[in-house]
Amino acid sequence: MLEIKNLSFQVENGDDKQKEILDNINLSISSGSFVAITGPNGSGKSTLAKMIMGIEKPTEGQIFFNGEDITEKSIHQRAKAGIGFAFQQPVHFKGMKVIDLLSLAAGHKLDVEEACSYLSQVGLCAINYIFRELDNSLSGGEMKRIEIAMLAARDVNLYIFDEPEAGIDLWSFQNLIQVFKNLLTKTNGIIIVISHQERILEIADRIIVLEEGKIAKDGNSGEVLPHLMFGVEDCHFYGRRVNF
């Protein structure tokens, strides 16, 4: 169970002005659910995810995880408490191999077979990748898939994926949806996926739409999807216009 109460995040915006990145967010997500968060670029989706992981600290409000107030807890305490996060922009590490990162994620030294199983889930031919360095030689899509495999290797009960589909080709996309479904069955916890992808939104139990740091819509996909269109005029946010 994840509960967010009156969560706000303000930053100084140059000339002493406050910019409201997140504005009084209230959310309650129960275990066993697959939630998609969507909304325009800059609406605060990644910021919200970072708040839950403890990477950013809110200026106001509280976060409860499984009944415990985690607002003041550090990133690593939250990780220990069972929260996992796949970054929108995966981090490069010179010298660190893919199998090293997967081992750190799993919490024990993985053998080649185990490491391969995580990479295969995201459509990477594992043996070509496990001993690669996480440096700039990996392509954007490869880094992204390794980031997903990394989170799948963690044993937590809240999984947050920040735009996992970005840069991923179609074949891998099918695998990706399977990864979410498997994790949900395995942990019976919470899967939160930040996404702009209609096909991910369609399979979600619930869609939360952020706009300018506020929750603009919140409901099941049948309720929310038909109304998803940001801005007006020719803004084809989802690649096609939706009539309503």
Binding site: R78, K80, V91, G95, M96, L104
Partner: protein
């Protein structure tokens, strides 16, 4: 062999005792144990301390161990080792120097290594420097390596100095012939008040010669590191040097690249990057359940691997 010597042998050579094949151990300033193999002869020098390692032409796949081990505090050891590698040979040499200093006197080892690498020969040379011991005496290692690469030959040097060495000044000079190549990868960790200098002077004389000089280092505490590399492209050639350093605490890291093209077809690149550990790297590892110190240690260890 005494326990301390065994420990440092394991650290610098990855072996527990006498290996197979050709070897020469230098223990406390004396060349003690030698063995020749069918194609590799080790000859003690008569005019000065040191050995000649002579590898016959067309030798394939031999491994030669030449560790230097010191546990006499206060010893100042100077040695000249020459390597004559015959044409078309492929050979792997594991050198390395370990100092165990429990005393109050500075212990110093200076190895002067000269490589004459024959046509089309391929050599891999590994050199680890390691210091340990409870004494207040400094552990000093100052190697000088002089390399002559004949046509079509190649030399790959892997050197590592992971802590424990108080002062090091390493000079590597190479002249590289037609179609020959030199690859060096050095890894350095300095802590406390240690100082490490590395200095490369490379002459790319041959047509289609190349070199790649790569340094990865971490400077902690109040340690100081200096990286100099001079690459002169005197023919159609490719030269690359990269110095990549993580700086921590109150350390100092200086990188001085110097590339000179004396030929219109010389292509020379230098990259130098010095910076602290990226915050997002720490954040990432903490989000996997590591605390700050564990995250930092993993990043440093991986960087120096």
């Amino acid at each position: 062999m005494k326990t301390e010597l065994k420990q440092i042998l394991q650290q610098v050579s990855g072996i527990d005792g006498i290996p197979n094949g050709a070897y020469s151990f230098r223990i406390n300033g004396i060349s003690e144990l030698h063995n020749n193999s069918e194609n590799t002869e080790i000859v003690k020098k008569s005019d000065k301390p040191g050995i000649d390692v002579v590898v016959k032409p067309n030798t394939k796949g031999e491994l030669v161990h030449i560790p230097t081990l010191i546990d006499h505090s206060g010893l100042n050891d100077l040695v000249y080792n020459d390597f004559f590698i015959g044409e078309n040979s492929e050979i792997h040499i594991i050198a390395g120097c370990g100092i165990h200093n429990d005393g109050m006197h500075a212990t110093q080892h200076s190895g002067i290594h000269t490589f004459y690498i024959g046509k089309n020969a391929k050599v891999k040379y590994e050199e680890k420097h390691y210091g340990q011991g409870q004494g207040t005496g400094n552990r000093i290692i100052s190697p000088k390596t002089i390399i002559h690469l004949a046509e079509g030959s190649s030399l790959e040097i892997d050197s590592a100095q992971i802590d424990g060495v108080d002062y090091t000044k390493r000079l590597t000079e190479a002249t590289i012939g037609d179609n020959a190549s030199l690859t060096t990868k050095e890894v350095i960790l300095t802590t406390a008040n240690q100082t490490a200098y590395t200095d490369f002077r490379i002459e790319l004389d041959g047509k289609n010669s190349s070199c790649s000089i790569v340094s990865r280092s971490v400077a902690k505490g109040e340690s100081k590191q200096f990286f100099y590399s001079v690459i002169n492209g005197n023919n159609q050639c490719q030269g690359h040097s990269a110095c990549d350093a993580i700086i921590m605490d109150y350390a100092t890291v200086k990188a001085v690249p110097d590339v000179t093209a004396n030929h219109v077809d010389a292509q020379l690149i230098h990259e130098a990057a010095i910076g602290k550990i990226a915050g997002e790297q720490i954040t990432k590892l903490m989000s996997l359940g590591l605390n700050y110190e564990e995250a930092e240690a993993e990043i440093v260890a991986a960087f120096l691997r």
